[in-house]
Amino acid sequence: MRISLMTTCLVDVMAPDVARATVTLLERLGHEVVFDKRQTCCGQMHTNTGYYTEAAPVVRSFVDTYEPSLDSIDAIVMPSGSCAGCVRDQHQLVAQHEGDSELEERAAAVSAKTYELSELLVDVLKVTDVGAYFPHSVTYHPTCHSMRVLKVGARPVKLLRAVEGIEVRNLPESDTCCGFGGTFSVKNDATSDAMVTDKAANVVSAGAEFVVAGDASCLMNIGGKLRRNGAAPQSVHLAQILASTREEPFVPSQTILGRAS
């Protein structure tokens, strides 16, 4: 299949390894990955902070990037539950707020071909064993928008369980929010801190080497807290685990998700 990678703005800048891993994984599975350099952001930050009018040009830019090539690609993949959720759940809402019915229609067409990574793998590419090797213990945090907006359910866990050498450990209170919430983490920083403090403590108590999730933003929050506390677990994106093989095992780089310096 020909798959267009929308890295998300956060991954492109703050966690580029997640996008690289997505490319590795999909190419290993025999698919062609294309990257459109006109891509910027899905507009979630503006939308969820109430700036619909400011979100509209960002959404339009997103639609302008992908809509013309819809016939030549099979899917658009985003390695993020919340960004894919924004495309599916909110782009049309933003268009409605602007009274732009043409944008609304075009956004719907783009949204219909947009998938979060685990959805793409399990639902579209019909694969759960991607041939990965990751000889480490991990604990999985199901991010809120993956779980409640996209409803990815057990897909990420199925993918993880099929990885050779992995040990998946239970995360206490796993379905409680990590406290990121986009601009919430800054606007309500004290409350957000109380939430991520508890999440980090639960990750530590799971006793795994890595905390894994499908959203780099939540991982940046949890990982950043773990680093600040000097705690051992590293944060890693689902794509990075699935990209890892015996031949080319996972190598943590220096720029990923608040890794220990």
Partner: protein, 532 residues
């Protein structure tokens, strides 16, 4: 086209009266900050919300058609919001026909006046209260006290709050922020005939309150009780009060005069509809299969129960909520408090941080709609932002109120209000969001910015960014609490380098798309100049 008067009301719906207990004095972030520092409160809340949450989850799991029940509850509530005026008139007719008297109160002040007048006319110096959110909302106890009438709360938790001179912090469990040692101290301070050696055993505390209240029930000069109602049935005029202790039933049956203050949204169309709500409410609320004390009363019956029944129908901003098609389903709330118990924000900050009778996720959408949001300095303007939008509230809501969607809608209302007010749309966030929007909708400029982020951040020491000075805008909110990774080589720079590499060596295996490979070539400003 001629103008025809179609009878649209000339009086616009009004917001709740300022005297209502719907607005705090501090913004949510400020109020939360001080509540978060209280370790006892955090412990009490954590314990209580976790217990109720678990109980609710197992009570809900038992019901095979739970999702269908939720759909039915939601559909009935939409039917009510769609036909509220007709249903209210039907209710008035039914109640009147059953011997009750209906009063209409536009706001908290009018409701307070009506109830005070009714109590004074009956020479009541003390009135008994059944736990009720509506009377808490309108500050009825304070209004009555002003007229020299003492209101006694008969619900155990409300009594604890009242005796402590405190305010409730939860819809179902008003004293959730107190532990039993604190409750023992409150009782010792305020119950005259209490055993001074009483322990903090829950049974002993309940017995003390029972003795204290029983006296009041049996000897009430003036004989006036005041309640709210969970449901008001339009076709029969029946009021339904759902409670756990039986104290409510005593108040509803023993006194001579009963006054019920009921929000206009509490209507259900027909008696049969109670079937749905009496399944949804107890399981969502207390995690019980069936509610322990459900009292239904219709008007008056000679020789049985109160001989006078007054229904005060309360608007107090509800019509204003009804006006907004995107936000009006907040009126569907049946006050089960499942959203509070499951909310990670509520669990940590507690109810007082919301500053309103209605705390938690439902409060964050209901209170500001009832009062209106009056600019950046209004504490209620901060409420729609008091959520990480995790969505746990929507999952548990028995009538499927899409709280996260309404939260975002209200944030947009706030931003739009500011945008439309001259001189207001220039706060730090406004400037940042406008700038980001411009950048993120200009692919070429954005591309340049992304590629330079890595090289630019090299001026900062270390691999991660630690605490930053407080004078910077916005960022310290993040770095005060967590490290921030430094941007490295952007993905797109790496992608370009790989493409170039492939073009030069079409057969080389360095189509390696992982770390390493063409990294070195992609790093640094030299490559960054080369982008299209």
């Amino acid at each position: 086209m001629s103008t025809v008067d179609l009878g649209i009301p000339s009086i616009r719906p009004q917001h709740a009266s300022p005297s209502s207990n719907l607005r705090g004095t501090q913004s949510f972030p400020d109020a939360a900050r001080s509540e978060l520092g209280d370790e006892t409160l955090r412990g009490n809340l954590r314990h209580a919300t976790a217990t109720i949450q678990t109980k609710r989850a197992s009570a809900v799991r038992e019901v095979r058609d739970w999702q269908k029940l939720r759909n039915a509850g939601s559909a009935l509530k939409w039917q009510v919001t769609d036909h509220l005026p007709e249903l209210l008139e039907q209710l008035e007719d039914s109640v009147t026909a059953a011997g009750g008297v209906v009063h209409w109160a536009r706001d908290a002040d009018e409701a307070g006046e009506i109830v005070t007048r009714l109590a004074l006319e009956r020479d009541a110096q003390e009135v008994l209260k059944v736990k009720s959110m509506a009377t808490q909302e309108i500050g009825l106890n304070e209004t009555l006290a002003h007229a020299g009438i003492h209101a006694i709360e008969s619900d155990l938790a409300e009594l604890i709050v009242q005796l402590a001179g405190d305010t409730p912090s939860h819809i179902l469990v008003p004293a959730i922020h107190r532990n039993r040692a604190e409750i023992r101290d409150i009782f010792l301070r305020s119950m005259p005939d209490i055993d001074p050696d009483i322990t903090d055993d829950p049974a002993a505390l309940a017995e003390a309150s029972r003795r204290f209240l029983r006296e009041k029930f049996l000897d009430l000069p003036g004989g006036v009780a005041i309640s709210g109602a969970n449901f008001a049935v339009a076709d029969t005029g029946t009021m339904v009060v759902v409670e756990s202790e039986g104290n409510g039933r005593m108040c509803l049956t023993l006194p001579r005069t009963l006054i019920s203050v009921v929000g206009i949204e509490k209507i259900v169309p027909s008696f049969q509809d109670l079937e749905v709500f009496l399944q949804l409410l107890p399981r969502s609320s207390t995690g019980e299969r069936m509610n322990p004390y459900t009292t239904l009363f219709t008007g008056v019956t000679e020789g049985d129960g109160p001989q006078e029944f007054h229904l005060v129908l309360l608007d107090n901003g509800r019509s204003a909520v009804l006006e907004d098609p995107e936000g009006r389903s907040a009126l569907h709330c049946i006050r089960c408090s499942a959203c509070l118990n499951v909310c990670p924000v509520y669990e940590r900050t507690g109810g007082h941080a919301y500053g309103s009778t209605y705390p938690g996720p439902i409060g964050a959408i209901l209170s500001p709609q009832m009062t209106g949001m009056h600019g950046p300095d209004d504490p209620n303007t901060s409420l729609p932002y008091a959520s990480s939008l995790c969505g746990a509230c929507y999952d548990v809501c028995p009538v499927k109120i899409d709280i996260p969607k309404i939260l975002v809608h209200m944030r947009a209302e706030d931003v739009d209000q500011r945008r439309e007010t001259s001189g207001q749309f220039r706060g730090t966030w406004d400037v940042a969001m406008k700038g980001a929007s411009k950048l993120m909708s200009s692919p070429r400029a954005y591309d340049k910015a992304v590629r330079s982020a890595g090289p630019l951040s090299k001026v900062l020491p270390g691999d991660n960014i630690g605490k930053l000075p407080g004078m910077l805008p916005l960022v310290p909110g993040w770095t005060d609490h967590r490290d921030l990774p430094k941007p490295g080589t952007s993905f797109r720079s790496w992608w370009d380098a790989r493409e170039r590499d492939r073009a030069k060596n079409p057969d080389s295996p360095s189509s390696d798309s992982r770390t390493g490979g063409p990294d070195a070539a992609a790093d640094g400003p030299a490559t960054d100049e080369e982008q299209a």
